[in-house]
């Protein structure tokens, strides 16, 4: 149990989590709910109750795709997507092994590409992702087709002010 989890997540997400009264509208409309170990309404209750360990080790926080359907329908105007962001950040900051490492591998590869070029270079980003996730064979046909259609450029394009972009990463601790 962690008494200050509610305060911490409330302040980092900017969402009034304490207002959730379990109407379950979020879970009814969630396209990913079948993949969650705890449905969104339960995630909200667990934050209120300070169930930090269970939350930070959960699959739910990584399977949320931030479509914002839940937040859009919440009668208390609580956006759950930023709540999930706050929980994900806390999971990584505390060095807890994420329940879905493949998703983390993708996002890490993506931001590494931004850190290098200022923009995403799909070819190298996808190679980094394949390497990190150790998933070398999935969707090779899709990748090849995209390449043949001229949708995966070989040469990267760079932002000009890379010094500022590095500073943004540094400030975010990434």
């Amino acid at each position: 149990m962690s008494e200050n989890l509610l305060d911490k997540v409330t302040s980092e997400s900017g969402q009034a989590i304490a207002l959730c009264y379990q109407c379950r509208k979020c879970s009814a409309g969630c396209p990913m709910v079948e993949e969650f170990d705890f449905p969104p309404n339960m995630v909200m209750r667990m934050v209120q109750l300070g169930m930090k360990d269970e939350l930070l080790k959960s699959k739910a926080i990584w399977m949320c795709v931030s479509c914002e359907t839940c937040g859009s329908r919440c009668p208390n105007e609580i956006r759950i997507a930023p709540v999930m962001d706050a929980l994900r950040a806390q999971c990584l900051n505390e060095g807890i092994t994420p329940a879905d490492p493949v998703t983390v591998a993708l996002h890490t590869s993506f931001i590494e590409s931004i850190k290098t070029f200022g923009r995403v270079h799909e070819a190298t980003m996808l190679m980094t992702y394949k390497w990190k996730s150790k998933n070398f064979t999935s969707d090779l046909d899709v990748g090849l087709k995209l390449f043949l259609k001229g949708k995966i450029p070989i040469m990267p394009k760079k932002s000009k002010n890379m010094a500022k972009i590095k500073e943004i990463f540094q400030e975010a601790g990434k």
């Binding site: 396209p31 962001d85 931001i111 923009r119």
Partner: protein, 275 residues
């Protein structure tokens, strides 16, 4: 219209959404609107940065909003995902004075409340453009039954996107009707395609996409129409029943402008049989 806007291309403008950008730029030029690409821009953080650090996501998007403020014009952002991120950063800058001061200092710009971030739907569905678009139609899309698929990023959260209706948006529907298409009502306008899940979980993405396409087929649609590069990629790649076109590709077809056949070759489900 004769107005000039700043323009944020986004990373997919050179890659997975190249046909969207080419079609959009052709339509915008035909309407006499000038777009000026930002002199410098970086990735908005896409659907990744916020998962790892919300301050990184805010910083990257605010960098681009800041560049637009340096140029002093409203900015058009064709990619739905980029628009969603930049609109969120703009919302923070507009409503949170402390964050605004911090970001203005870090990114060396002065926030001007008059400057707006616009999605391409925000721009092309402007009421004052409606007569101009209708007047330019050379081949009405008669007999083409479309369903408009808005997805997430230009819709939610409504307080940030300013969408007309978060459950039943109508602006792309009206545009398509103006081009002469038959627009069907259907249930999946604002459903999620899975987003980045397309890269990590093909099976689940296919399940989400199949539900969307089932409903489109039930509405007897010939194709889906979208403004989002991620929606287009996921729905086009993960099913073989219907083509999915960008709304500006259909505008270009009705206006008979641009290199349309070359754009169609970039799709997984060939749309050429529709025309």
């Amino acid at each position: 219209m004769g107005k000039t806007f700043s323009y944020y291309p986004g990373c997919t403008s050179h890659s997975t959404a190249i046909e969207y950008i080419e079609a959009s730029l052709a339509v915008i030029a035909a309407l006499g609107i000038e777009l000026k690409e930002l002199p410098d821009w970086c990735c908005c953080g896409a659907a990744s940065a916020h998962n790892l650090s919300s301050s990184l996501a805010l910083g990257l998007s605010a960098f681009n909003v800041g560049e637009a403020h340096k140029k002093g014009s409203d900015m058009v952002i064709p990619c739905a995902g980029c628009y969603g991120n930049l609109a969120q950063a703009d919302y923070v800058l507009r409503h949170d004075p402390k964050e605004r001061r911090r970001l203005e200092k870090q990114l060396d710009f002065k926030y001007d409340e008059k400057i707006r971030m616009l999605s391409l739907v925000d721009l092309l569905a402007l009421p004052e453009l409606r007569p101009a678009i209708k007047a330019l139609v050379r081949k009405p899309l008669q007999g083409l039954n479309v369903v408009c698929y808005y997805g997430c990023a230009i819709v939610r959260p409504a307080a940030i996107t300013g969408v007309d209706n978060a459950e039943n948006p109508l602006r792309i529907d009206s545009l398509m009707a103006d081009l002469g298409a038959e627009v069907s009502d259907w249930s999946c306008k604002v459903d999620c395609c899975g987003g980045d899940l397309g890269l990590t979980d093909a099976e689940k993405t296919t399940e989400l996409v199949n539900k969307i396409v089932d409903y489109a087929v039930a509405a007897e649609a010939d194709c889906l129409v979208t403004s989002c590069a991620l929606c287009q990629a996921n729905v086009d790649i993960r099913q073989q029943r219907l083509p999915i076109l960008y709304f500006t590709e259909l505008m270009a077809e009705a206006l008979q402008i641009g290199d349309r056949q070359r754009w169609w070759k970039k799709h997984f489900n060939d749309p050429s049989k529709l025309f």
